[in-house]
């Protein structure tokens, strides 16, 4: 047990970096903060890998499966005799996995930002915030109890607020950071109340006691209910709302696309691999409670996840801002993970969904970070976020191009890339549980392949645009992370997750489900083919051929006008009647509703302003009237 004490450093290094660069950074040359931050994160990264290696392959696997290790814990305060708040580090398969995910992506982003943020004002401040964010996120994943998790959860919110609003001269960035903060705070209130209910029902905050599958601690809780629904279902649903806010599940997703205003490396860190998976992690952490004690909540989780994945994929088709496409794609993939948790059982093969969700979380972190960083490299080269300003970039950005292609193939679920394996497990888990959700996920798989390759062809193929200067490949600090993440995206699929990260920590055997896998690959290929037909045609070679061969070519080139028909169907039917309305609904109804709440609050606030008239007699009147009203109601109450 003592062998893991060094894990404290994984957490402490970012904190120290934050303090140093935050306090001293302004006095140094900007690059110094960047180098210190990157080097520190490198150490954290190596330590996490060591911890993972010794945890997963170092004999902690006993008869009971992987042991839960708490190398460090202090009692922080006693709320009541039994309710004690602690701070510590908890190592179990999912937290160790998350350590690796967070430090890997964070390290890559630190390295990448050396190039990407070069010359930006506030370079040192940027690195300080990055370190603070990483610290908070690490604290969240290693929490030994739900209260500690909540504290770090909020810290994650605060530090992401700082990062999204980094370009504070840009009003849209400021608005976005505020929106992200307030929407997630709004969700967090659910989390907080959930914690309160849970702790009073069970008398503990500790994950060790809460997530023990025997559920002994809930023995007295079954009878408690409120409005006909058991207290535990309330607690779990409320906690899930907190998770849904951070993981941007419908209808709390509205902050994520706007949050793309932040610097691109921040999007890679926060909106691909870390903060947005906090909600997934929370549900995974509480999984035994949700599964055994609050099955109704689990059902909600499955459907919210499924709906979000479809909804976001449909919107992604219509976006032109490449970061927004990626943002909606993230929503969709998070929906997948949530769905997998929602359909999972507990123990052995039953727990396939749980394993698949964690597996996909891992692979998604790698390939989505890669996509965001690749997008950053593209934006760096052409100084625009919009697809219609891009085209033919494969010639100029060879490394970005290849790595981006790998990421697109991965997310589209094409073997042997890692996304194929994790997505396949999710589909199988969905099939075992609910046919409808399974069908939805097939559809989403096709849509995903389509919108990703729409992006890919638009950016890397097609005609050159009028660039201000010839786009050039990014510096090494930016391409090394791309290559590293590309390699991770390729090989992560071969990690035997079913032996390492499972619901009951025991490990089980599973095989390829060809009946599910083959159609899903075909659907993915179909999506890619469609995108190819629709978006790849704007290239120079066909034009030259077309001139030479006249009408004959024109007919061939136009594939006998098939693509016009496709286009007609796609643009006039799918886009017009499905995607656009969904996007409109999202922008105006869902978003509008949230804005509406704010507007109404302001209105009420304006209306009642008249009460504060400045007239003393008026105040005295309300004073006496209020007292009498209370007295009357009290007398009424007594009788």
């Amino acid at each position: 047990m003592a062998g893991y004490t060094y894990t404290v450093f994984i957490l402490m290094i970012p904190l120290v970096i934050f303090l140093i660069t935050g306090l001293m950074g302004m006095k140094w040359k900007p690059i110094v903060s960047g180098v210190i931050g990157t080097a520190g994160m490198g150490i954290s990264f190596v330590l996490s890998l060591l911890a993972a290696a010794s945890y997963f392959f170092g004999g902690t696997h006993g008869a009971e499966g992987f042991q839960t290790i708490i190398p460090f814990e202090i009692t922080w305060l006693r709320l009541t005799e039994s309710l004690i708040i602690k701070m510590g580090i908890l190592l179990d398969p999912i937290s160790v996995m998350m350590l690796v995910v967070v430090t890997t992506v964070s390290f890559m982003v630190h390295l990448y930002s050396l190039g990407y943020m070069k010359g930006e004002g506030g370079f040192a401040r940027f690195y300080a915030f990055l370190a603070l964010f990483t610290f908070s996120m690490l604290g969240l994943v290693i929490a030994t109890n739900i209260f500690q998790m909540y504290i770090f959860w909020e810290l994650v919110g605060v530090s992401s607020y700082l990062l999204i609003g980094f370009y504070y001269q840009k009003p849209s960035a400021v608005a976005a950071s505020k929106k992200a903060f307030i929407v997630t705070r709004f969700a967090d209130l659910g989390f907080l109340i959930g914690i309160l209910i849970l702790s009073f029902v069970t008398g503990t905050f500790d994950f060790g006691k809460l997530t023990s599958p025997d559920g002994a601690i809930f023995a007295g809780a079954a009878s408690l209910s409120f409005m006909g629904i058991s207290a535990l279902t309330w607690a779990m649903t409320l906690i899930f709302i907190g998770g849904a806010g951070k993981s941007a599940m419908f209808p709390l997703h509205i902050w994520l696309p706007d949050a793309m205003e932040g610097p691109t490396p921040v999007s890679a860190l926060i909106h691909a691999a870390t903060m947005v998976v906090a909600g997934i992690f929370l549900v995974a952490r509480m999984f035994p409670v949700i599964h055994f004690q609050a099955p109704a909540s689990q059902e909600i989780i499955a459907f919210v996840g499924g709906f979000t994945s479809l909804f976001a994929a449909v919107i992604a088709i219509t976006q032109y801002d490449i970061k927004r496409v990626l943002a909606f794609s993230t929503l969709s993939q998070l929906g997948y993970m949530m769905l997998a948790l929602g359909v999972s059982g507990y123990g052995g093969e039953e727990g396939l969904g749980f394993m698949a969700s964690m597996f996909h979380l891992f692979t998604h972190a790698m390939f989505k970070a890669l996509l965001f960083l690749g997008a950053g490299s593209i934006i760096h080269a052409v100084h625009s976020n919009y697809m219609y300003d891009m085209g033919g970039l494969r010639k100029y950005l060879p490394i970005t191009h290849i790595t981006f292609l790998i990421a697109c193939l991965t997310i589209a679920g094409i073997p042997p890339f890692s996304g194929f394996f994790s997505k396949d497990e999710i589909l199988v888990a969905a099939l075992n549980h609910n046919k409808l959700l399974f069908a939805v996920e097939y559809l989403v798989a096709g849509l995903t392949a389509f919108y990703m390759f729409r992006l890919y062809f638009n950016v890397f193929w097609g005609k050159d645009r009028h660039y201000h200067h010839t786009p050039h490949e990014s510096p090494l600090t930016m391409t090394i992370p791309l290559v590293f993440l590309a390699v991770a995206s390729i090989f992560a699929g071969f990690i035997p997750f079913h032996h390492l990260v499972t619901s009951d920590k025991m490990g089980f055997d599973t095989e390829m489900h060809l009946a599910v896998a083959i159609p899903s690959v075909l659907i993915g290929l179909l999506g890619i083919a469609l995108a190819w037909i629709l978006y790849k045609k704007e290239s120079a070679i066909p034009e030259k051929l077309a001139l030479r061969w006249g009408i004959l070519y024109t007919a061939t080139y136009n594939k006998f006008y098939f693509d016009e028909i496709y286009l007609f169907v796609a643009r006039n039917i799918i886009f017009k009647y499905i995607s656009r309305p969904v996007a409109w609904f999202d922008r105006h109804i869902v978003d509008g509703f949230m804005v509406g709440i704010a507007v109404v609050t302001e209105k009420i606030s304006f209306q009642i302003k008249g009460m504060q008239s400045g007239q003393l007699q008026h105040y005295a009147f309300i004073f006496v009237a209020g007292t009498l009203a209370l007295a009357l109601s009290m007398v009424y109450f007594l009788n």
Binding site: L77, Y150, L155, V174, L189, L196, M611, A620, M634, V635
Partner: protein, 475 residues
């Protein structure tokens, strides 16, 4: 009677001594040396604050009229500490030429109200309680009208004294009803005789109204915004922190001891007041541009949150209330300190006037942000723990809906606290408030606030200490 027993009243006696000494010193100093009174008075007060922390005996004297326990001593120490910070913050302001002829007045009036509050906290019967209340109230009206040449300040004084008169009248009516129903004014005698009948209920409501006025609960809060705005900033901070804190203490003590028999009756009442107070105050706060009015409504909203602890009746409730007030003292004084510093340097009192403050005064902006985050209850600063324990207390009594309303309100409040942050950091301003250097006393006060905001949040021992003395007090 053994004179040694007077040690139980050491806080009150020492404060009285300070007031008298300052008065004599005032007479003894010549006109041109009046400014020397400032460090002298603050120093003396600091000494008394320090002495207050020396552990001493507890018990009751005067046949139960005056009681002292670990908890009441702790409460008095919190108040002393708050007043010390306020004095430090007021130093620069008192040195201004227009205040040179009334330096001692400021100290004497403030200390007099503090004496009244201390007596209220230690009261063992309603007579001492009422005398303490009036001793605490009347000098505050004088303080509110301190800038007597400014009409807003005079208006604040008049509004305060008239509203207090009304509330005192109602409170006294309530106390006489209670006396009529129980035949005693002693807390210890009254408590067992309290039953849920109409006369006692009426007396109780009137008592709540009187205290609700001091704590500025809705609908007794109307005076707050006008008085806070009109009074000098260092008086406003006193009203919002010390006066309110003391009233919360005494309200909680009386509710938990004298009225413990009718807990089930007053819980719905507190529930209603809490909901109205939090919600209405937040709605008002949204639209304020004057920073003092803004903080006034924010402090009303905070009072609504405190009621969550009150409704959690019992040990956890008491602990969470005292802890919250302790946090609130440092947090709110941090915010008020910044406002005072800016006011002294530039006369700016509006939120829009703070636009671009970060560019010129980054440290003050950061401190203000910290205080506002703490007021909004964002972890890991102390304000979060304060609110969390209040919510825990209410949830512990099963008031989940109330907690939900409170958390919703906390989220709304975040919006307006962020508005100020936004003004300081983001809004553009051609001519932001020029960079200035605060006085050393102000710096010391602000450092104390920052230390408080961090230490109280992280030192688990403080909460446990309060819990142990609350336990002692209630059993």
């Amino acid at each position: 009677m053994d004179l040694g027993q007077f040690i139980l009243m050491r806080h009150e006696l020492l404060l009285t001594l300070v007031a008298v000494v300052v008065l004599i010193a005032e007479i003894a100093t010549s006109e041109k040396n009046k400014a020397r009174l400032i460090p002298f008075s603050i120093g003396l007060f600091a000494l008394v604050t320090f002495i207050g922390f020396i552990p001493g005996e507890t018990g009751t004297i005067f046949g139960g009229s005056f009681q002292s326990s670990q908890l009441t001593i702790f409460m008095k120490n919190i108040l002393n500490m708050a007043v010390l910070i306020i004095f430090l913050q007021a130093e620069g302001w008192l040195r201004k030429p227009e205040n040179s002829d009334k330096i001692s007045e400021y100290f004497i009036l403030t200390i007099s109200t503090l004496i009244g509050m201390n007596f209220m906290i230690s009261a063992g019967d309603f007579l001492i309680f009422y005398i303490g209340l009036e001793t605490a109230t009347i000098p505050i009206a004088g303080l509110a009208a301190f800038d007597k040449l400014k009409s807003r300040s005079s208006e604040a004084g008049i509004k305060l004294i008239l509203s207090s008169a009304l509330s005192s009248g109602i409170l006294l009516f309530g106390l006489s009803l209670l006396y009529g129903a129980t035949g005693s004014i002693y807390f210890a005698d009254i408590a067992p005789k309290i039953t849920a009948n109409a006369m006692i209920a009426l007396g109780f409501i009137f008592f709540v109204s009187g205290m609700g006025f001091k704590i500025s609960l809705v609908p007794y809060h109307f005076w707050t915004a006008d008085v806070y705005e009109g009074a000098p900033i260092n008086v406003t901070s006193y009203l919002s922190v010390v006066s309110k804190g003391a009233a919360v203490f005494i309200f909680t003590i009386v509710l938990f001891t004298v009225f413990r028999n009718i807990v089930e009756m007053w819980k719905p009442l507190i529930y209603t007041l809490a909901v109205f107070t939090m919600t209405l105050a937040n709605l008002f706060a949204l639209r304020q541009d004057n920073i003092k009015r803004f903080l006034a409504f924010s402090s009303i909203a905070q009072a609504g949150f405190i009621l969550l602890g009150v409704i959690g009746a019992g040990e956890l409730g008491m602990t969470s209330v005292v802890y919250f007030v302790l946090v609130y003292v440092f947090t709110n004084l941090g915010a008020f300190g910044v406002v005072a510093a800016i006011h002294n340097a530039s006369d700016v009192e509006t939120i829009s006037g703070y636009n671009g403050l970060y560019q010129t005064n980054p440290k003050l902006s950061l401190l203000m942000t910290l205080s506002l985050f703490s007021l909004a209850g964002i972890p890991p600063v102390a304000g979060f723990f304060g609110k969390f324990f209040l919510f825990t207390a209410a949830a512990g009594s099963g008031y989940y809906i109330l907690v939900l309303i409170a958390v919703l309100n906390a989220t709304v409040s975040l919006y307006y606290y962020l508005k100020v942050v936004r003004a300081m950091f983001i809004e553009k301003n051609e001519q932001p408030i020029a960079a200035f250097r605060s006085t050393n006393a102000m710096r010391l006060a602000l450092i104390m606030c920052v230390a408080g905001i961090f230490i109280i949040g992280f030192a688990g021992g403080i909460f446990e200490y309060i819990r142990s003395i609350s336990q002692l007090f209630l059993n």
